[in-house]
């Protein structure tokens, strides 16, 4: 097989047995890789009703056929498992260098099952895999673990690991690779922790074989030249200010979630937007493997209260820990971000859970005595301290470690958790960006924008501007973007490059550029229709898993605040999100029943019966 390495590594952590499994070429074609391969294995090997933190759960790490090929942003892998935060699946995606090295070590992915009796790490060196004792690493931060493992194995090895938060089974613990890249969402780190798996270390010299190197190179040159010419014309915001630049857009469209989603604009926005980050704290850009954008931020803070050095923050972190907590001290946000990276926490859920706690205190549903410290809007010091306590489940951190839904529910007010399927939202207000509400409600991982990102067409005008306040017709476009994202995520590419440069310019966004890359790399000659069907197959297989786990329309929900309480001020003033109307249209587009269940015909047409 070209593009793919052609084999998966199966690791039974209970027995310690490790074996290679050939990647079935038909499965590879039908599910592409990464996210698609992940749902294929979860559907086959996991009981959707299982306890996510039990040995019965399976954790899949999978790269895509374009990962490590040199295709722009072909640097990514996906972590798929049943989530301890949501009870649905995870699709936690990360770039950096680890995913490419995973392929160079000889594998498309790894499937972990069972639970090790003691802490271990997996080391793959050029096709030879072994489990090694990790007792000495337990309790160490992700940075310490990475340094130590590279000393122990190979200075050029790449490491994905958990920090104390994963060990403590924090429901939103992340898996960090290359120290500061995060497979961040939905608690994948807690699943690793529950399996006593501290880290995965990979090293290899294999090259990813290409079916037609000349065709691949010619297309790659053409795409990169187009990208560079466009960037010369209009310098790319992502390169200059990272994703943090998005604060400008969301603030001025009135969709910057503020005060636990009570407002859509933040008076302190000028202190936390991307230009401020660049001016005050940026050391240098950092790009993932084969990425021409370089949106990563290496930063340094010298303010003695929040001093540190590391990577970030992203826009989502700035919303969750900044405007959402009414914190306009960017240094505090950056410091909390560093702690999340080092301790292995998802910054979105961390910030959103602190914001929820602030509202619970503000309304008198939670006492500061229980919190153990003052907790009011805008308190950056509290954010930093509570982040640290959460990772170790120390004091009130033990309550925060359960995420905002369980915290708010335990205080008698679950409606104050800003979640879908118990997962906290990223930073775009559905009252002023209607399709975003539909995307949150129907994402297979709960509150997320990355599995079909309507911000592109509603907020950024890519490939064409669409009125963010109108709900009619949004279901069709949202489905098209979800299908596109399934292809991007499965191929091993990054949405930041692919949506703009490798998809059609109409709103049905066919993955035309990805098609050419895949065909040159794999030689399989997908038709455009086959590739789009693969995207639909992946989305529908994920939905089938959720349905088997007991989910349906009732779980495709938004908090009442977004659907019934009009936005109080700003450009989206007076608006609510019209979710139920959009859901009716959406299920029809998907050929699901009005209850959100894929029909037998739909499953059969995609080969899922």
């Amino acid at each position: 097989m070209d593009g793919w390495m052609g084999k998966m590594l199966r690791v039974d952590l209970g027995s310690g047995e490790i074996r290679d499994e050939s990647l079935d070429p038909q499965v590879a074609k039908d599910y592409i890789g990464g996210r698609g391969i992940g749902i294929y294995y979860l559907s086959r090997d996991v009981d959707p009703a299982c306890d996510p933190l039990s040995p019965e759960n399976v954790l899949v790490m999978a790269a895509g056929p374009l990962t490590g090929t040199g295709a722009p942003t072909g640097a990514r892998y996906m972590v798929m498992t049943k989530s301890p935060l949501t009870g649905a699946i995870t699709c936690s995606n990360a770039g950096g260098r680890f995913p490419t090295e995973l392929k160079r070590s000889g594998y498309d992915g790894i499937v972990f099952s069972g639970r090790s009796p003691h802490p271990v790490y997996l080391y793959i060196d050029a096709g030879q895999a072994a489990l090694r004792d990790a007792t000495h690493l337990w309790g160490q931060t992700t940075h310490e673990t990475t340094d130590r493992l590279r000393e122990e194995t190979d200075a050029k090895a790449r490491v994905a690991c958990i920090g104390p938060a994963g060990e403590q089974l924090v429901r939103f613990a992340a898996i960090m690779n290359d120290k500061d890249r995060a497979a961040g969402r939905s608690g994948v780190g807690a699943v690793m922790g529950s399996k006593n798996l501290k880290a995965v270390v990979v090293r290899g010299q294999n090259r990813v074989a290409l079916a037609d190197p000349a065709r691949f190179k010619a297309f790659n040159t053409q795409i990169l030249e187009q990208f560079k010419a466009a960037a010369r014309e209009t310098p790319l915001g992502l390169t200059i200010n990272g994703t943090a630049g998005v604060v400008l857009t969301t603030q001025h469209l009135g969709v910057l979630p503020t005060k636990n989603w009570q407002q859509g604009t933040f008076d302190g926005w000028e202190n936390i937007h991307g230009e401020r980050l660049t001016e005050k704290y940026l050391v240098s850009n950092k790009a993932c493997y084969a990425c021409p954008i370089g949106c990563g931020r290496k930063t340094r803070v010298t303010d003695p209260d929040f001093a540190g050095e590391g990577e970030g923050p992203e826009y989502e972190t700035i919303y969750a820990m900044g405007s959402n907590c009414m914190i306009d001290n960017l240094a505090a946000v950056v410091k909390a971000n560093y702690l999340c990276n080092e301790l292995g926490l998802d910054t979105i859920t961390m910030g959103a859970t602190v914001a929820c706690a602030m509202e619970l205190v503000d309304r008198g549903y939670l006492s500061e005595k229980v919190v153990g410290r003052p907790l009011s809007w805008g308190d950056g010091e509290a954010l930093v301290e509570l982040t640290r306590m959460t990772a170790y489940r120390e004091g009130f951190g033990n309550r925060l470690a359960e995420g905002s839904y369980r915290l708010a529910e335990s205080c008698g007010h679950p409606e104050l958790a800003m979640v879908s399927k118990k997962q906290e939202f990223p930073g775009y207000e559905p009252r002023g960006a209607q399709a975003m509400g539909l995307a949150y409600a129907t994402s297979p991982i709960g509150g997320s924008h990355m599995r079909g990102d309507p911000a592109y067409f509603e907020l950024f005008g890519i490939p064409q501007p669409v009125d963010p306040h109108q709900w009619k017709g949004k279901a069709k476009i949202t489905k098209a973007f979800q299908d596109l994202s399934a292809v991007i995520d499965s191929a091993g590419l990054c949405i930041f490059f692919a949506v703009r440069n490798l998809a059609g310019k109409e709103l049905d966004v066919p993955p035309i550029g990805i098609l050419e890359y895949l065909n040159a790399a794999t030689g399989l000659e997908y038709t455009l229709e086959e590739l789009m069907r693969a995207g639909e197959r992946i989305i529908t297989a994920e939905r089938r898993f959720l349905v088997r786990a007991g989910m349906s329309r009732k779980d495709d929900s938004l908090p009442r605040r977004l659907t019934h309480e009009p936005m109080p001020s700003g450009p989206a003033q007076g608006m609510v999100c019209h979710l139920e109307e959009m859901l009716d249209e959406y299920y029809q587009e998907q050929e699901w029943t009005p209850e959100g269940i894929p029909t037998e015909n739909r499953l059969a047409s995609l080969g899922l019966t």
Partner: protein
């Protein structure tokens, strides 16, 4: 008097060293007129907000308006 502020890629159309400026425009002038005075090429399509709301180039400006211009940001 209209107050204009620029961010990111639109800063290049500001007077040297300034983050914004104030300008007196003729009655009924629209954004197209303002962008023309600033010498923004017609193919540059910035995000334009007036008094916190996104508007198009044919939006007419009024005395006291606050205009914010920036090149599109994306990602997240």
């Amino acid at each position: 008097m209209v107050r204009v502020r620029c961010f990111t890629g639109m800063r290049r159309y500001l007077p040297e060293g300034k983050s914004g400026f104030e300008i007196e425009l003729a009655e009924g002038a629209d954004l197209r007129r303002l962008l023309g005075i600033m010498e923004v090429p017609p193919d540059v399509a910035p995000f334009i907000a007036v008094n916190g709301r996104k508007v198009a180039r044919d939006h007419r400006l009024r005395d006291g308006d606050e205009v914010v211009l920036f090149t599109h940001m994306e990602g997240g």
